[in-house]
Symmetry: C2
Subunit: 253 residues, 2 copies
């Protein structure tokens, strides 16, 4: 089996925004699916891990696009493991059209945890470090790695939302893809009409649960570049905790 997995997706009409191009949140979802398919086919996916009480947890995702696929476009998400250490693995993505045109790239960092204790697990202990046999170093991913999102104390709170049934995934946590939606909803439609999202970056710091209130702090750090901090206020009033940091870069259209 090839080290690189390649999966076909369709830019479905209801997954496209007003500009007729795929939403970043749905592209993120396709990337997570591609990661899941790739790891399952190679013996280290959720279907192997869950019965032994382990799971993959997405720690960071960065996506940089030259162009978003237009509705009804078929495109491939390619994915491969770039590196694997004891507690983290790096997985890359390339989004490419049927005609070979490159739409963009992604980088992600994953941890493995025990589903009972929620503690980090040694990735290299799975099948005697078998993941190392799947590392692909020859394939280029010419976008910057995720950087630490630095925010000053001046960031102002721009929105607070209640999370509910539709926000929550099979683990009972607010779904990684929903955070992407919520961050991009901080920018109004007029902004999206005059700016194209060039790069989206998110680091997942802690888990939040359905029913938690999420507050969004935003700061403009360069022209068209914004940092966002998401803080949860749990329903049980156990105190505010930072759950995510995100950085988005827009360019003028």
């Amino acid at each position: 089996m090839d080290k690189i997995g390649k999966y076909l997706f369709l830019a479905e009409p209801f997954h496209c925004d007003f500009s007729h191009r795929l939403f970043m949140s749905h592209l993120g979802n396709h990337m997570l699916n591609a990661a899941d398919f790739h790891s399952t086919e190679r013996g280290f996916g959720m279907t192997y891990l869950n019965p032994i009480h382990k799971t993959w947890v997405l720690s960071r995702l960065a996506v940089e696009m030259e162009e978003m696929p237009v509705q009804y476009t078929k495109f491939f998400v390619e994915t491969w493991v770039e590196g694997a250490m004891k507690y983290f693995t790096n997985r890359n993505f390339r989004v490419v059209g049927e005609d070979g045109r490159v739409f963009g790239y992604g980088r992600s960092v994953w941890a493995m945890i025990d589903t009972d204790t929620r503690q980090p697990q040694d990735i290299l202990a799975i099948h005697d470090g078998a993941i190392k046999g799947w590392i692909e170093t020859g394939k280029e991913c010419p976008i910057e790695k995720s950087s630490r999102v630095k925010m000053s104390a001046d960031a102002s709170i721009v929105r607070t939302i209640d999370t509910g049934y539709s926000d929550v995934d099979v683990n009972g946590h607010v779904n990684s893809v929903k955070y992407i939606e919520h961050v991009l909803d901080l920018f109004d439609i007029e902004w999206h009409r005059t700016h194209r999202l060039k790069r989206f970056e998110i680091a997942y710091v802690a888990e939040s649960h359905g029913g938690d209130k999420l507050s969004f702090y935003r700061e403009e750090t360069a022209e068209g570049e914004f940092c966002v901090r998401i803080v949860k206020s749990p329903a049980d009033a156990s105190g505010d905790v930072e759950v995510c940091r995100s950085k988005v870069k827009f360019i003028n259209i």
Copy 2:
């Protein structure tokens, strides 16, 4: 070509709720995709209509499920036209597993409008009433048609939300699928944990736009049966307008 279209979908993990079963909103999306594929393959889909300044508009959707597919299940959405009149067409759905097990059914009503004037168009004028050649009356759809959702003046307002970038579809309107999410979010996770959604019904009355405020009025009309009215307050303060009515039926687990 068969009158009945049959399309394969996967219950993707991020499209499943905390019970590991497909969200009704994503099933609704798959049904709309199936409708789109079916009509396009038969010459009366969006790709034919949009260049001649016409489009299909979903007017009603009712879905009734015996069971929702569990994550990673592959299933088919079958769809066919049950009837076509001048201003409305009825399209049915059957959701069936690869092993032939029936998960549930759907019924929908569609209108055709002119994309410039937004006025209803004569469906039977398209290709000399060609849609009539695709009517399938032999296939059973054993669920009730949508009923008029009757609500008293006593329905209380239970939530108000701001719509934004992620709510809006390629036409600039709040996406039919997002309304399903918003209605089901009126019920908290504890409710969903102890009740299974048996039937979901929605009637689209008027269009709403990104930036509109949506208010949700809810009334319990029988045990586990709720009617919901959605009213928009447009950003331009042009006055409140009813945009949707929905009826949901839950059964105790």
